[in-house]
Symmetry: C2
Subunit: 545 residues, 2 copies
């Protein structure tokens, strides 16, 4: 930042302080450092952090930003784990921390929707819905109870139930534009539309898509549909012992996902991915080497009663529907894996699990399998869990005793967790699932990483593979290795036609090529709506095309 720029920042901070309370405009070193941390190797530092409490304050912030030509970067809770956390694409933007805008404007138990602000967390929303609309459940992502619902939806994060595709359950947004004007999408802008929160398209062009994975406006409110609590719910867990049956497994499940027998976001994880959410890397047993020796991996797999591939999901509907679906599922995976069902309508899950174990006399093996199944079970019932986040601690050398005991986990940023996600999208087809594995495993091994992977069937035809590069930021060289590995993996994925559903810093350069009408069009829209490039420059939409 040169002197002229510094002066503009100072003036802008004075102007912001005039309209917000002083404590809601911070730019001390400690605060700026906190916001600059990331689990990824890519970090940037803001010039100030602003904490609005209302949409009109956001409008004012944007007006001032425009006046002083300071770019702003909004974050909801800043918990964009593995995708750059609260870090803006470049340093010296003013961060708008929206966590104080945490009002739930409406919970509608008749039509099953909520209207929420960016600061509303998964945990907060679940509590509110349980109290005010107990016939519904929230679709939670694996980002934990403190993550923002709205922020995650705008980055197209996904959950695990039939409402797992949040783009499909979003119905209208309120957006602060770069000129400070307030846009309402769908029917919302008419002011009196009865169907505002239940019909997503409005009349005329649909603008909602412009505000996810982009930088065209700051979303300050969103309406989101809730899933009716199903009459019957059955959790299933399929254990596939054979490493080589991934392709057969995927092809066996596709028809069931396609015809709706499976209507949740079916999850297929390999042994290491599941294990990484229950323990840290066994450094001693591996003689401090990575990737993990095959023998240790086999031992761990057996000790955790896991398959090479492990499928979880839920069957929901009426009781006869669920019973029938269960039979279909068992039939479909015959010869590939064994299906275990779990059910819980009133008791706390653990009680029920113990009860089942006693009742059916199943042994320690199954009990361990239940343990690793619990968090997915909870997600499928709309309860946020920190379990998936535990994988962030996998390769940290410092022992984290909370991993075994459960929550509360420490903040991954406080203990130097390193984490980057690779998240290529593929058709639900065994061949593609296998290709990605064959492509990535040698690259990851080359940089000392194991391949920890899940495939999540997001809709009837496509799934997202999530591979976590977990590392220890406290160990010199690990960040670099992770970065190089990430770059190489992205390059190869893209070359083979597997594009990510979402990226953090460092991802976009693999996705932009010159003379692509798509990016040129997005860029033209950006110029038209934000000529001064005030809002989140560099976020998804490239600046030069």
């Amino acid at each position: 930042m040169n002197i002229q720029q510094s002066r503009e920042v100072e003036e802008a901070i004075m102007a912001w302080t005039d309209v917000l309370e002083a404590e809601r405009v911070v730019w001390d070193e400690t605060s700026l450092f906190r916001y600059s941390r990331s689990t990824t190797p890519y970090t940037t530092r803001p010039c100030a952090v602003l904490r609005p409490e209302s949409t009109s304050e956001v409008q004012t912030i944007v007006h001032i930003a425009r006046k002083f030509k300071i770019s702003v970067y909004p974050v909801s809770q800043g918990k964009n784990w593995g995708y750059s956390d609260a870090c803006a694409p470049v340093s010296d933007m003013a961060l708008i921390d929206m966590s104080r805008m945490s009002r739930i404007h409406e919970i509608n138990p008749e039509l099953g929707y909520v209207v929420i602000e960016p600061g509303v967390t998964q945990g907060q929303l679940v509590s509110a819905v349980q109290e005010k609309a107990p016939g519904y459940q929230v679709d939670c992502t694996g980002a934990g109870p403190d993550a923002s619902v709205l922020g995650n939806a705008l980055d197209r994060g996904f959950g695990h139930t039939a409402y797992g595709d949040h783009v499909r359950s979003t119905c209208g947004m309120e957006v602060v534009m770069a000129d400070g004007a307030l846009l309402k999408t769908g029917f919302g802008h008419f002011g009196n539309a009865r169907a505002e929160c239940v019909y997503p398209y409005g009349i005329g062009p649909m603008l909602d898509g412009l505000f996810s994975q982009s930088n065209l406006g700051i979303v300050t409110s969103m309406s989101l549909w809730l899933m009716p609590v199903p009459e019957a719910f059955r959790f299933f867990f399929i254990r596939c012992p054979d490493d080589n049956k991934l392709e057969a497994l995927v092809d066996a499940l596709r028809p069931l996902r396609m015809n709706g027998i499976l209507n949740s976001a079916v999850h297929i994880g390999n042994d290491l991915r599941v294990i990484s959410s229950t323990m840290q890397y066994p450094w001693e047993r591996c003689n401090h080497k990575t990737p993990m020796p095959e023998a240790v991996r086999r031992e761990l797999r057996n000790a955790h009663a896991l398959g090479a591939w492990n499928v979880s999901g839920s069957l929901t509907g009426t009781l006869p529907q669920v019973n029938a679906a269960g039979k279909h599922l068992q039939h479909a995976v015959r010869g590939i894996g064994k299906v275990m069902f779990l059910n819980d309508r009133s008791l706390h899950w653990r009680k029920k699990a113990v009860h089942l174990i006693n009742r059916f006399g199943i042994g320690m093996h199954w009990r361990r399998q239940l343990d690793v199944g619990v968090p997915n079970y909870e997600l499928l019932k709309g309860i946020p869990t920190l379990m998936p986040l535990r994988g962030a601690f996998w390769r940290v050398r410092t022992p984290i005793p909370e991993i075994a005991s459960g929550i509360p986990l420490p903040d991954p940023l406080d203990v130097g967790c390193g984490l980057i996600w690779l998240s290529p999208v593929l058709p639900i087809r065994g061949e593609d699932a296998g290709s990605i594995l064959k492509l990535l495993t040698p690259i990851l091994h080359g940089y000392g990483f194991d391949c920890l992977v899940t495939y999540t069937m997001l809709n009837e035809r496509s799934m997202v593979a999530i591979i976590n590069l977990s590392f220890d930021k406290n160990v010199p060289g690990e960040s670099d290795a992770a970065r190089l590995c990430y770059e190489k993996a992205m390059q190869q994925l893209v070359a083979h036609g597997y594009y990510p559903y979402r990226v953090g810093l460092g991802g976009m350069k693999h996705l932009v090529k010159s003379n692509d009408t798509f990016w040129q069009t997005a860029h033209r829209i950006k110029q038209a709506l934000d000529p001064d490039n005030i809002l989140m420059p560099g976020r998804y939409i490239p600046e030069d095309v």
Copy 2:
């Protein structure tokens, strides 16, 4: 058109003729007249009609249009019945008739999708899918076998099965932009993306929404998901005798639609709406008066074995699922209506119907009810039907014998059919269904129209009410009455918060108010992408905001 404009049109026509064959550029009086006809009272006349056969020809057409500053207006098959047919918002645009672009680029039986051009009709697609991917069915709208699939989807027309919301089953488009560049949305622009036709969002902003109900580009190809033919299919028909039970009926069905027991686009029609698709207005019995005397209406209702309200839809899934859903449905509407089920897996429906009639000994009453049910039954099985279009002939004085005998119907434009749709969106809530009826009935009666209405549950929370203003364009004064009635009805609907899902000419003026950030934003995007206003000026996005 002044002399200068005429000269530019002539020069453009010469340039277009140079690149297309002469017979694919027409501007003779007869042709222009044919394209200027509409069932609505609002008509405009093109200055020429161009018939490209490929995307690159569309690009060339746009280049020339831009050079000579002639606006163009694409139509797919021009069968936008009741929403202005092939008419552009204003006269003297060059019409691009895309009906010769009727290639089906791909039918994928593994992942269940097709990639189609604008000229592909419902009938053509159904035949192709039956042949090449017999495990799938097409979701058809009521616009008949000759209507374009792509054109209808861009206007957010809806079908009747679980895939009835075509926005949700569209996955990627190819679009000719105003500068002639070719845009591919979703992952399509990367060229090699494996998930191009199965994951709709791509990475970065979603641009697809910009091209439905708008004028920002000419869509030349679209990928569309197909519905797997369900293992079990059961058609249901609910007859509600009581006029006053609409609200109770809607409230009874909402929870079933919400929790997925009903997963097709449930259809609720009043007696007159159903009757209008089987006969013309009984002028003699009504002493040539409108609206219809209550006594005649009662007679007709009884003669057709109809309820005041008539629900149709399908239950699909596995056989036990369908059986269970059927019981739920019967229980839910107890005391409101009587449920009749129909099933057909291999036989032609009519054979089956007769068989059922014989088998169960049900009488003439039920046989008539079957007759009115057939077309919806066919739609729910993915077979396009002309039945809904028969309502267009309702008020035409000339007898149309084909109404009773079935297809082929004459072209509604050849016999002077008058038709405008009102199509307000409302939450699935009895109160709202009742409000719309109370609001519209006196207005329609005041202009001599009956209230012919259906409510279609488009998603789990909202439905669209479709009211047809049917009239005879050959009778002086009827067009004016329809226009005045339409304007008044639109005004009142909007004032009460019921906004249309779609409009033809004459509709937009009720939806645009000044200083609305939504329209201003759409307008800004329009200016950025089409600064010369070459593409469809006035279509949905207003020119002055």
